[in-house]
C-alpha cells in the first residue's frame, strides 16, 4: 500500500460540447473537446487536508468526481491508497467516502437509521458490526435521538450530518467533500468544520479533500490549497507559501492575483 491517500498524475478531462434540440441525440457520441482539467498533478498524504479552490467551472467538482469513480478521466492517472480509479474502481470505492453538500441523496420516507443500514450493507457492513458502526457515527455527529425519524423531517443541517455519517460509515482512508458547508448557517458550518478537523482528520487520520468557495473555511481546515482555474492547477501549497508566491496578504487576494497572472500568461 502506497503512503499517499491520493495521487493525481497528469490528469486530463475533456467533455463533449453541450448540444441543444435534436442534436442532443448525437451528444453522447460527440468527440470530447471541451477541456475541464488539463494536466493536473499532486498528492495528498494520509491524515492531510487539501482544499480545492477556484471560480465556478474551474474543475473542482470534476476532479472530485473522477477520484470518486463517477467520471472517467480522458488521460492521466488518479489513485486512492494506491488503487487506480480506472482499473480498480471497486477497491477505490472501499477506500473513500464521498459527500456532496446538497440536502438530497437519501430516501426521504425512510428513517436515518434505515438509510444508514442500507448504505452500510452496500459497503459490505452488516449485522452487529454495522449496527455498532452506525451507533458510533450517529453519536459522533450528534444524530442519536433523530435516528428513527424519517429523513423528510430533517433540516438541511441534519441531512448534511447524515451525509457525512454515511461517508464515514466504512472508515474510509480518504474523504471527499464538495462544498461541505454550502447550505449551512454560520453556526452549523463552524461546528461542522470543528468536527471535521478534530474527529475526522486529527483523531482518525482520514485524509480530506474538499472543494469550497469559503476561503475562511479553507484557511481554518486545510494544510494545503490547490488553486484551479479553467482546469489548470495554478498553485498547490500551504496557505503561507501561496500568499508568498502571489505577494498577497490574504488568500482572497492571492487567488485573484494568481488567476489574473495566469490569464495574462495565456493571452501572451
Amino acid at each position: 500500500m502506497g503512503s499517499d491517500a491520493l495521487t493525481i498524475e497528469n490528469l486530463e478531462k475533456y467533455f463533449p460540447p453541450a448540444r441543444t434540440g435534436w442534436k442532443t441525440l448525437v451528444q453522447p457520441f460527440t468527440r470530447a473537446t471541451v477541456c475541464a482539467l488539463a494536466g493536473i498533478s499532486f498528492a495528498v498524504g494520509r491524515g492531510e487536508v487539501l482544499a480545492l479552490i477556484g471560480a465556478n467551472g474551474a474543475g473542482k467538482s470534476t476532479l472530485l468526481r473522477i477520484i470518486a469513480t463517477l467520471l472517467a478521466p480522458t488521460r492521466g492517472r488518479a489513485a486512492v491508497a494506491g488503487f487506480d480509479v480506472e482499473r480498480e474502481p471497486a477497491r477505490v470505492r472501499r477506500e473513500l467516502g464521498f459527500h456532496t453538500g446538497g440536502d438530497t441523496g437519501f430516501y426521504a420516507r425512510l428513517s436515518a437509521r434505515e438509510n444508514l443500514q442500507f448504505f452500510a450493507t452496500l459497503n459490505n457492513l452488516a449485522g452487529d458490526p454495522a449496527a455498532r458502526r452506525i451507533r458510533e457515527v450517529a453519536d459522533l455527529l450528534a444524530l442519536g435521538e433523530m435516528m428513527d425519524r424519517q429523513v423528510r423531517t430533517f433540516s438541511t443541517g441534519m441531512v448534511h450530518r447524515l451525509g457525512l455519517a454515511r461517508a464515514l460509515l466504512h472508515a474510509p482512508t480518504l474523504l471527499l467533500l464538495d462544498e461541505p458547508t454550502r447550505s449551512l448557517d454560520p453556526l452549523a458550518a463552524a461546528e461542522f468544520r470543528r468536527f471535521l478537523k478534530n474527529e475526522v482528520v486529527l483523531q482518525r487520520g482520514t485524509a480530506l479533500v474538499f472543494a469550497s468557495h469559503t476561503l475562511a473555511e479553507v484557511e481554518e481546515l486545510a494544510n494545503r490549497v490547490a488553486l484551479l482555474d479553467g482546469g489548470r492547477l495554478l498553485a498547490c501549497d500551504t496557505v503561507p507559501r501561496v500568499l508568498a508566491s502571489a505577494g498577497a496578504a490574504t488568500l482572497g487576494e492571492a487567488v485573484e492575483r494568481l488567476t489574473l497572472r495566469a490569464h495574462q500568461e495565456t493571452r501572451e
Binding site: L25, L71, L122
Partner: protein, 273 residues
Amino acid sequence: MNLRRALRTLWAFFRRDLAIARSYRLLFLLEPIEMLFAVATFFYLSRFVQSTELTRALPRGMNYFTFALVGLAFFDYLNVAFSAFEQSLDQARRNGTLEALLVTETPLPVMLVGSALYPFTLTALRTAVYLGWGMFVFGFPWRAANWPGALAVLLVSILAFAGLGVLSASYLLVFKRGNPARWLFIGASALLGGMMYPISVLPQTLQVAARLVPITYSLEGMRGALLQGASFGELWPSLRALLLFAVVFLPVSFAAFAWALRRTKVTGTLTHF
C-alpha cells in the same frame, strides 16, 4: 462479491423498497380492492361476449374469463420488466441517491437486480391477488393447474423480459428520456402476444410476427399450465423459446448497460435528467 454478500445486498434493496412502500399505508391497503374491480369487470365482460364462435377460437378447456384473466395478470410482468429498471434509475437520479449508490462497493449488476426485486415480487403478489379473486369469487378453475409448471414459465419469462428492461434503462441512461422503443414494444406485445384474444384470430403475417415477441410464449405457457394442466413436456416449446430470448437479451443488455454507464462517465451526464 461472494454469493452470501450478494444475497444480503439484494435483501437490503428489497427491504428498502418494502419500507418505502409501507410508508404509503393507504395505497398499500387499497390496491387489492382495485384489483377486485378489475377482475369483476373482466368476469362480467366475458359473460357479455361469450359465444359459440369465441369458445371455438379459444384453446380447449378455456372460457373467455379465464383466458383474459391470465392475459391481464401476466402482461403486468412485461410492463414491470420494462419499467422497474428505468424507474429505479430515474428515481435515484431525482432523489439524488444515484451518486451515493455508485460510490459504494456494490457492483452495478447487483444493484440492477436488487432494484428490480421488489417490483417483480409485487407483481407476483398482484398476480396472486388477481387469480385469488378469480378463484374464490368468480370460479376460476385451479384444481387442474400445473403449479410448478406455471412457476417455471414465470421464472423464465422474468429472465426473458428483464433483458428488455435493462436495455431500456441503458437507453434512458444515455438519452435521458423514456425509451420510445419501449412503448412500441409494449404496444406490439399487447397486439400480437395474445393478451386479450388468441393469436389464431390474427392475420397470418401478424401470427408470424407474434412469434417474435416473448410475451406470446409466456402467455401460451402460462395458460397451458394454469388452465389445461399441461405437463412439463407440453410446456417445453414455450420454455425453450423464453430461454432463448433470455440467453440472447440478458448478456446483450448488461453489456449495453455497462457501455451506457461508461459513456455517461465520459460525457459527465450521469446525473443529468
